[in-house]
């Protein structure tokens, strides 16, 4: 399903977190056009339609990226840097969704230009609510640039 149109890109290395997130999104039918990659490298491949995702060439960019920070190979910060440096991709809304509540990380992300930073709550209910809120807002409410 590499050539599927994806509105939402979930970058999450932890499969359980990923499953929880997906489950939450499905509750609100926000997971229809969702692509899940497991590290920063794949995320970039996806965006730039290379490697595994070569077939995506010409396809529109996702309308939201849910990004975890702590990932192997290329971590979230690097992804943000890359995407925000590129004028083509810098307008894609990025919501950092991470367990890290560390101040420096938050600061850094905002400095780089992320749109939102959310700490993944341990409480599942809260987690679900947070995901739904994010999804609802960014995918439905927010007007993305064309």
């Amino acid at each position: 399903m590499e050539n599927r149109i994806a509105d939402l890109l979930l970058v999450e290395d932890n499969p359980y977190d990923a499953e929880l997130t997906l489950s939450a999104l499905r509750q609100k039918n926000l997971a229809n056009n969702l692509e899940h990659v497991e590290d920063g490298a794949e995320a970039l491949d996806f965006i730039y339609a290379r490697g595994k995702f070569e077939s995506r060439k010409g396809k529109p960019l996702p309308r939201l990226i849910l990004l975890d920070l702590k990932m192997p190979k290329v971590n979230g910060i690097e992804v943000i840097e890359k995407l925000k440096a590129d004028p083509l991709t810098k307008t894609i809304p990025i919501v950092v969704l991470t367990s890290s509540a560390e101040d420096p990380d938050i600061k850094r992300c905002y400095a780089l230009g992320v749109n939102s930073y959310i700490v993944k709550p341990v409480d599942f209910e809260d987690f679900i609510a947070a995901i739904i809120d994010v999804g609802m807002y960014w995918l439905l409410l927010n007007k993305a640039p064309k």
């Binding site: 932890n14 359980y16 977190d17 499953e19 929880l20 489950s23 702590k70 991470t98 367990s99 890290s100 509540a101 560390e102 993944k120 709550p121 341990v122 409480d123 599942f124 209910e125 987690f127």
Partner: protein, 829 residues
């Protein structure tokens, strides 16, 4: 009343007078003798002439005596009365015709015999008148009130009588020497009167006539020259004329003219001659006068000079005399009142003089001392020494000999130490004895002894000091060195004392020490410095030197600081190594802190993920497979879920807790009131429970870390809300006050409170006084608050009553104190 004494100047006149008187007396005496012995010649010089009456002779005698004895007033008066008397009586006899045979009493018979022209020799009336005049003059001489000119006049009248008679006899004109038909004055009587009146004229004081004639000036000179001429020339011319007339050479008229002419001529000649003489005299006089004036001036100068010299020398003499007097007084006073007693002893050893000051020294007055035997009051032990001194003094006359101090008994019985100086002045006539000066030196001896003691004491101190002491004289010689100095120096005290520094330690001139010493010697300032020194054996040492100026030169105190230096060096090394260690540790700590950061970061991040999974999936299970689960199953799932949540909370709290510990305080002025309100609103917003009453008093601002302080408020207020949530009407009160200079904040609730028994556990980590069942919480909140407050160097405590409520207090030190304390802690971020 005495007549003016005759001066030496009048000796001439006096002699003349006396001479005249003598002549008169002789005349009178010879006449009397003539009468007595009938010597014709004596009675009358020329035969056929009248002889001098005996009474006349007696009158002359009286007058002669009077002329000589002018001093005896009484005699003079008597004589003058007698003379006047005899003259007066004759005149009376003549004028009244009474028979007063006064002039015939003496030699009555002889008179009867001797007749001249048939008449016996009576006193002539003009003689009597002349005698009256003479007697009158003598009388007036005794009576100083009469003007001299009158006396002189009368004398001259008497003289004229005589002169007239003489001229008469010379001219052979009887009318001159005889009045009427009375008896004429005898020629010798006339001569006698002339002589007598000459003598009388020069009686002092002389009348104006005589004074002028006798004066030494030109007038007198002229008078002396002219008067004889004025007298004799006319007489001569008269005689000439008479003779010519008698001889009928020429007529009376011719004769008169002749006289006039002769008189005029001779007068003119005489005047001319005299004038010339006077002029010459005057010229000479003027010359002499000018010379005299010069001489005078010179003389005056000399006189002035001599006078002033005389005055000066007189003043000097007076001064000297005065000074001498004062000096004598002074020396006397010194001797009497000085501190030393002065005793003069004769050659035999007996005291001949003792000064008043002896009393002060030995208590004996001068008189008492002279009675005292010295050897009795000298201490027996010192007696020999005293005697030796005396012998020495005797052997060395004039030289002062000082004796040793000896003990002498004071009058009051106490022994005094005396020092004496003996000088043998037996050869000095002014002293004629051995002078013994002695003084009380008891006090001096005592103070000397004390000084010696003190000096010994100090010397010993210096000798025994551990520190080295040197005293260097201005000539760079060692005046004193103590044992501590000479030890290790390879030289003994004997070597050093007296020799210069340069001699003992050649090359020392180049040392720093020498330079400092030189400076100290010149500017007399103290110096302190450290100096390295190499011992003769090569060992090196450090000394701290203190260089001080002292009257003898320079005082050097050297303290061996080799050990100290060693310790200092060691300390320095230690410090350096310590600093290195600290740096190492600091970096180590920083490292470890970083590691800790990283650790806690990963802990928080990585631990949370599985927790999330546990929680999430169990929830999912509950939702998605609820129909397959019974109630128990559902219950089990919820337990799993809640535990996971708890664990997550714990992790968060722990992380926060550890972070707070590492954090640096960023202090600023914080409005506690605003902060508390903010926190309250946030907390109330989060919790659904309604608090019926919240009371916040005005809270002051304090200096603290706002982030951390907010944490404290969050903890305390959330606790207050939590633990009062079970009460009907939860009330929260927040206020503050000042206690002991600290600002104390209080948060009180009316909730469940806690058991004060366990109050000490309140602030422990993970310590809870309530079960999780009743009240949620990890037990970290208060520990966190406590940690923060402690970091601010404040105090936090609480008190409560079960089911009544709890009040939490925290105190922060006052701003001033806080500012003073340093806030820098290790930055571990």
């Amino acid at each position: 009343m005495e007549l003016p004494k005759e001066t030496i100047a009048n000796l001439t006149t006096s002699r003349f007078r006396t001479g005249m008187a003598a002549l008169v007396l002789i005349l009178a005496t010879t006449v009397l003798l003539g009468w007595q012995f009938e010597i014709e010649f004596l009675k009358r010089p020329l035969p056929g002439l009248v002889a001098m009456n005996p009474l006349t002779a007696i009158g002359f005698l009286l007058a002669g005596i009077a002329l000589i004895n002018l001093k005896n007033i009484r005699l003079l008066r008597v004589l003058s009365c007698l003379i006047i008397g005899l003259g007066l009586m004759k005149i009376l006899a003549v004028t009244t015709g009474w028979y007063i045979p006064v002039d015939t009493t003496l030699f009555y018979e002889k008179l009867q015999i001797d007749l001249t022209q048939g008449v016996s020799n009576r006193m002539a009336p003009n003689t009597a008148i002349a005698f009256i005049f003479v007697g009158w003059v003598f009388f007036l001489r005794t009576w100083n009130r009469t003007p001299i000119w009158i006396i002189e006049l009368i004398t001259v009248l008497a003289l004229l009588q005589g002169v007239l008679s003489m001229i008469g006899y010379g001219y052979n004109v009887p009318e001159f020497y005889g009045i009427l038909s009375m008896f004429p004055m005898a020629v010798n009587t006339a001569i006698g009167f002339v002589i007598l009146t000459f003598g009388m004229l020069v009686i002092q004081p002389m009348g104006p006539f005589l004074t002028t004639i006798m004066s030494k000036g030109s007038g007198g000179f002229m008078a002396k020259m002219l008067l004889p001429l004025a007298v004799f020339l006319p007489i001569a011319f008269g005689a000439l004329q008479l003779y010519g007339e008698k001889q009928s050479f020429y007529s009376t008229e011719f004769g008169l003219m002749l006289i006039i002419v002769l008189v005029v001529m001779t007068s003119c000649i005489v005047i001319w001659r005299v004038a010339t003489l006077i002029n010459e005299k005057d010229r000479k006089q003027r010359l002499i006068e000018s010379e005299l004036e010069e001489l005078n001036i010179h003389l005056e100068e000399t006189v002035i000079k001599r006078t002033s010299e005389a005055i000066i020398s007189r003043n000097e003499a007076q001064d000297t005399a005065k000074r001498l007097q004062e000096s004598e007084k002074r020396f006397r006073a010194l001797v009497e009142n000085g501190g030393d007693a002065v005793v003069i002893v004769s050659a035999e050893g007996k005291p001949t003089f003792a000064s008043g000051s002896t009393f002060g020294v030995l208590g004996y007055t001068a008189e008492e001392f002279l009675e005292t035997d010295f050897s009795q009051i000298v201490h027996p032990e010192d007696l020999e020494g005293v005697q030796n001194s005396i012998m020495e003094a005797i052997d060395n006359p004039g030289t002062p000999v000082s004796g040793r101090a000896s003990r002498v008994k004071h009058k009051d019985g106490s022994w005094r130490w005396l020092e004496a100086t003996l000088t043998n002045l037996l050869n000095d006539p002014a002293v004629n004895g051995i002078v013994n000066n002695f003084r009380d030196v008891t006090d001096k001896r005592e103070s000397e002894a004390r000084l010696k003691e003190s000096e010994t004491h100090f010397r010993e101190t210096l000798d025994n000091m551990l520190e080295g002491v040197q005293i260097i004289g201005f000539d760079w010689t060692y005046q004193y060195v103590n044992a501590a100095f000479t030890a290790h120096r390879g030289k003994t005290r004997k070597d050093l004392l007296g020799s210069t520094m340069m001699e003992s330690y050649p090359g020392i001139e180049n040392s720093k020490l020498f330079k400092v010493l030189k400076r100290c010697m010149s500017n007399r300032k103290s110096y302190n410095f450290e100096n390295q020194f190499t011992y003769p054996d090569g060992e090196e040492a450090w000394f701290e030197l203190s260089v001080q100026p002292v009257p003898e030169g320079v005082f050097i105190l050297s303290i061996d600081i080799t050990d100290r230096k060693k310790v200092e060096d060691e300390l320095q090394e230690l410090n350096t190594s310590l600093e290195e260690t600290i740096e190492k540790r600091t970096s180590q700590l920083q490292e470890s802190n970083k590691e800790l950061e990283a650790f806690s970061y990963s802990v928080s991040h990585d631990l949370r993920a599985p927790l999330r999974a546990i929680n999430g999936f169990s929830q999912m299970l509950d939702q998605q497979n609820s129909n397959q689960l019974d109630d128990n199953g559902k219950r089990l799932l919820s337990i799993i879920s809640s535990n996971a949540i708890t664990m997550g909370q714990l992790i968060d709290d722990l992380l926060t807790f550890s972070k707070t510990g590492r954090k640096e305080l960023h202090q600023t002025e914080v409005n506690m009131h605003a902060m508390a309100l903010e926190v309250l609103n946030e907390e109330l917003h989060e919790t659904p429970e309604k608090i019926s009453c919240v009371n916040i008093s005005s809270l002051p601002s304090v200096h603290c870390d706002p982030k951390l302080m907010k944490q404290v408020w969050v903890n305390l207020i959330s606790n207050a809300i939590k633990y009062s949530s079970t009460v009907e009407e939860p009330k929260i009160r927040i206020w503050s006050d000042v206690e002991d200079g600290q600002t104390v904040f209080h948060v009180a609730d009316n909730g469940v409170g806690f058991d004060m028994q366990y109050a000490n556990k309140l602030f422990g980590v993970f310590q809870r006084l309530h079960s999780k069942k009743d009240f949620d919480g990890t037990g970290v909140g208060l520990a966190l608050a406590s940690r923060i407050i402690t970091k601010h160097e404040g105090r936090i405590w609480a008190d409560a009553e079960l089911n009544k409520g709890a009040t939490f207090h925290f105190a922060l030190p006052s701003n001033k104190k806080r500012e003073q304390e340093s806030e820098v802690e290790l930055n571990t971020e």
